[in-house]
Symmetry: C2
Subunit: 250 residues, 2 copies
Amino acid sequence: MKRIESKKNPQVKQWKKLQTKKERDKTGLFLIEGVHLVEEALKYKGNISEVLFTESFQMPHHWNLDEVEVYIVAEEVLNEIGDTETPQGVAAICRKPSIDLERTTNSVLLIDAVQDPGNLGTLIRTADAAGVDQIVIGEGTVDIYNSKVLRASQGSIFHIPISKGNLYERILQLRDSGHTIFGTSLDQAEPFQNIKHTGPFSLIVGNEGRGVQQELLSLTHQNLYIPIHGKAESLNVTVAAGILLYYLRG
Amino acid sequence: MKRIESKKNPQVKQWKKLQTKKERDKTGLFLIEGVHLVEEALKYKGNISEVLFTESFQMPHHWNLDEVEVYIVAEEVLNEIGDTETPQGVAAICRKPSIDLERTTNSVLLIDAVQDPGNLGTLIRTADAAGVDQIVIGEGTVDIYNSKVLRASQGSIFHIPISKGNLYERILQLRDSGHTIFGTSLDQAEPFQNIKHTGPFSLIVGNEGRGVQQELLSLTHQNLYIPIHGKAESLNVTVAAGILLYYLRG
């Protein structure tokens, strides 16, 4: 157990850098804050390299910190490295998980250029709830280790394998492995309720403004839309994903 | 057409006060910002009392400003009264709509103590898309004329009658009028897919942390839950509402 009292400590400066994607990419590390996220991360071995908490933090009895390095830090240290408005006296440095892309999947969510961090986090949480067993993030999507994404994911980031990749190639692989590929689109699409599906599937959801790229829609077996019954122009991407993922899994 | 160049103008101070719920309640007015919201408000007569835009704002040709008062204002005026990070050169002062509660409804969404403004706005947008024809907001829910709620609603605030009220009494009225009342809960609830429903219905969704109040759940005909297939603890309230509203309307 180590102690850090000053926010000028070099280690603190190092941790603070994890607020940037550049540093997260370079080190393979990211920062999580708050009781719930740290609890979720601790459930799975190897996620956490360092846990930091303040002297006054009431650690839950069931937390097992055997394999992590523990720091007792001043409150100003947590304030310095994090970005939550109401810090809960605990944070952790996590290792980005490595993903086994070879394993068989029954359902995959492909995310094309979603830009709002809250939306990305909620998509991950929704996919987790709906039993999706892999998420693939395409280019132009906000970094999954951004603190707002982590917060909105409510820990689901630790429950489900998430990889970044070229969506075009990944869709071709999923087609080869027997997945039915569903896109979301208003053109040449069917109302989702018309589709009766069984078996492995992948769903592509897209950018908040322009939807899924045309290039990817050309690879799908079927494009779906959710009928709008009132006067709204569209649904939020996380709500749309929730409706479709629950419908498709049956 | 009037001009206001200085943010110290008394009218500007008056508008700025609309950032507080107290002032909105007192005056029956609220402020909207950005092209999309103003466009939606203009579609329905009587919503807008004043439109404000900057000299450089490119007004869409189809906007009809016959019945509204128009102000050309300095950019600093818009920055002063609003709270968007990237103002689009346009804002408007709107009148809160009056609601006719006597009309017949086929589907009603009742919102019990939802506290995140983004969630409330997205709930309104989702209910609009799903064809809900009335929303009732119970005590403890964030103010619907809060700027973050308005933004997340994407204009749906102007599409669907929304009233505040005592949910307990409102549910009794809806029962009397022949609605089937569905609650959302994990106790004494059925997986939603087990329910086959036709006819008028009301759905109650609740607070992000503690769900729907027990007192209200005791008035329902049937409580529903959405099965969690992965390791997430729950779904976001807007996603849950989307899944259930689309399912129940059939």
